[in-house]
Symmetry: C2
Subunit: 304 residues, 2 copies
C-alpha cells in the first residue's frame, strides 16, 4: 500500500541551547515522508520555490518517495524560524514566511488519485478537503491538525475530521478540540465527530491510541540526548501510517505496533537537528529500538 | 516482611472543581499506610493531637496497620488546606498549621527497631535520619522528599539520600535535585549520590524506574473521572513498597510489578476525595486494574 500525503516542505532555521541550524530542509511533510519511506512508498503533495534546488531535494533521494507531486513554483519556498527554551519544552516562532505556500492549491498527479492511504498533514482544513476530493479510491484517511485551525477554521476542520478515519494530534489539542480536559472523555467526544481512532501524542511523555473502545498507552523512548524536537510529531505520523500501509491491516496488534514504530521514529528525529538523524538512520536501528521499547515497558502478570 | 514508615498524619481541607472536603483525615503517611496495608503489615511512626479522635483513627482500623507508633500528643493535629485548579494540574496551599507536628521527634517502639523495610516519608531529612538511626536491623531504605527540603536542607537531605536504597520522587524534583533536565542523566546523577534505584513519578503521565542500568517506563492508568489528586504519590509509594515487602525480593520482575501496583494504587486514590476510595477498595479491584494495565500497555514483537 502506498500513502499520498499533503503538507508543507520548507526551509527552517532552528535555534536550541545545543546549537543552531540555518536554512535546513524542514516542513512537516518532509519529516513525514522521510520517516514513512522506511516502511512504504510515499507520494508527497506539496509546493516548493525556485530556491529549493537539487541539494535541497536530495533529502528525498534514494528513498521510496515519489517526486511527481512536489510542485516547483515561481518564488521563494516557505521559510520558518524558531527558538527553543533551555529545556526544549517551549518554542518561540521567530518568523513565518509563507511565500509560494500562500497560493498553494494541491493538485494530485493522476497516479495519486487511487491512493490506499491519504495522510492530510497539518495545513488549512480547506486544502485538506481539496486533496480528499481528488482521491477517487476507497481509502484510509489520516488527519493531523493544530490549535491554529481549531481556532480560525472550526467549520472546515469539523468537515475534515468527519471524513477522517484516524485523527493524530497532540493531547493538548485533543482537549482543546473536544473541550474536555480528561483525555478519555476528549477521545470519546472526538470519536463521535467522525474518526474511529484517535492517536493523542504527548511529546516526551508518550502516546495514547483510542480505537473504538480499546485503549493503548505507551511511554516515549527515554532519550539521553535530546537535540531538536522539530518534526518529532511528523516523524511519529510517518512511522505510524507507514507501518499501517506496509501491513495493510487495522487489527489491534498492528495498530499497537504502529504506535510503537511511530514513537521510535519520533525519538530518532529528536537526536539531531532537522532531518539529519532520519537521513542516516537504518531499518536495523529502527528494529533495535522497537525491541528496546518492548524491554523498557514489559512487565509480568501477577504471580498466581 | 513489614514496613516501618514515618511521615505526617493530618486533617486536610481540600477544594477541587468537583467539591470540597473539610477536615478529613489526610497526611502522606495516612495514604501510604492504607495503601501498603493491602499488601503487607505497616508500622507507622507519626504524631497526632488530642483532636484526632476514634472517628479519625478509624481510617486505620481493621487493616494490617500497627497503631503503637502513632503518638498522641497534647495540642492540635497538623492541618493543611489546598485548592486545585480547574484541571487539577495546579494546587495552591491555603494554609499549613504544623501544631503538634512542630515538636515531632519520632520515637520507634522497641518492636519497630528490627524493620525489614524502612520508608522515610516526605518530612525534614533530619527527622528521616533520626528514624534510620533507631533501626538496628539490616533493612531496605525507601526515601521520599520534595523541593522544600532540596532548597532548605540540602546537606541533611544529601545524607539521607546517601543512606537510601530507593529514592521515590517526582520527575521534576529529580531534575531539581540532580540539576539535570534530562531524566536519564538525572537518574544517573542521583544513583551516584547513593540509591541504587530511582522511582520517578510523573503524575498523570506515568512513572519511570531506574534500577542500576535497567530502565522501566509505564504510563499512568487513564482515569475517566479524576476527583482529587491529594495523596496519589503517597498511595503509589504504599503500593510499591507494600508489594516489595510482600514478595521479599528485588529482582527486576518484582520491581516492575511493584511499579504497576504503585500506579494502580495511585490511580484509585484520585477517584474520590481523601482516602475515601482507598477505604472502600478491595484487593480484587486492585488485581483487576493490574490486569487492565497489562492490557492497556502490551504490544507484540515485530513479526518475523
Amino acid at each position: 500500500m502506498s500513502i499520498v500525503a499533503v503538507g508543507s516542505i520548507a526551509f527552517d532555521t532552528i535555534k536550541t541551547p545545543f546549537g543552531e541550524a540555518r536554512d535546513i530542509v524542514g516542513g512537516a511533510l518532509t519529516y513525514f515522508a522521510v520517516s514513512a519511506s522506511f516502511f512504504t512508498e510515499v507520494k508527497p503533495v506539496a509546493v516548493v520555490g525556485e530556491d529549493f534546488d537539487d541539494a535541497a531535494m536530495s533529502v528525498f533521494a534514494g528513498r521510496a518517495i515519489d517526486l511527481q507531486g512536489i510542485e516547483h513554483a515561481k518564488g521563494k519556498s516557505f521559510r520558518w524560524g524558531a527558538e527553543y527554551s533551555y529545556n526544549l519544552n517551549a518554542r518561540e516562532t521567530l518568523f513565518t514566511e509563507l511565500n509560494v505556500f500562500e497560493q498553494f492549491s494541491p493538485r494530485l498527479p493522476e497516479s495519486y488519485r487511487r491512493a490506499d492511504i491519504v495522510f492530510l498533514g497539518n495545513i488549512h482544513p480547506s486544502l485538506q478537503l481539496s486533496v480528499l476530493e481528488q482521491v477517487t479510491s476507497e481509502r484510509l484517511v489520516g488527519l493531523d491538525s493544530m490549535n491554529l485551525w481549531i481556532e480560525t477554521a472550526p467549520r472546515e476542520l469539523a468537515e475534515a475530521i468527519k471524513r477522517a478515519d484516524i485523527l493524530k494530534i497532540d493531547d493538548s489539542e485533543a482537549r482543546q478540540l473536544s473541550r474536555q480536559h480528561n483525555l478519555r472523555k476528549a477521545a470519546a467526544t472526538i470519536q463521535r465527530m467522525g474518526p474511529a481512532m484517535l492517536v493523542a501524542t504527548r511529546g516526551s511523555h508518550g502516546c495514547m491510541l483510542f480505537n473504538g473502545s480499546d485503549i493503548f498507552a505507551t511511554s516515549a523512548y527515554p532519550l539521553e540526548d535530546e537535540v531538536d524536537p522539530t518534526g518529532a510529531g511528523d516523524s511519529f505520523a510517518g512511522g505510524f501510517f507507514g507501518y499501517l500501509a506496509r501491513n495493510a491491516s487495522l487489527d489491534q496488534a498492528t495498530l499497537r505496533r504502529a504506535v510503537i514504530f511511530g514513537s521510535v521514529m519520533g525519538s530518532f528525529c529528536v537526536e539531531d537537528f532537522g532531518t539529519r538523524r532520519l537521513e542516516r538512520l537504518t531499518f536495523e536501528e529502527i528494529a533495535a529500538r522497537y525491541s528496546e521499547m518492548k524491554r523498557l515497558t514489559q512487565f509480568e502478570d501477577i504471580e498466581a
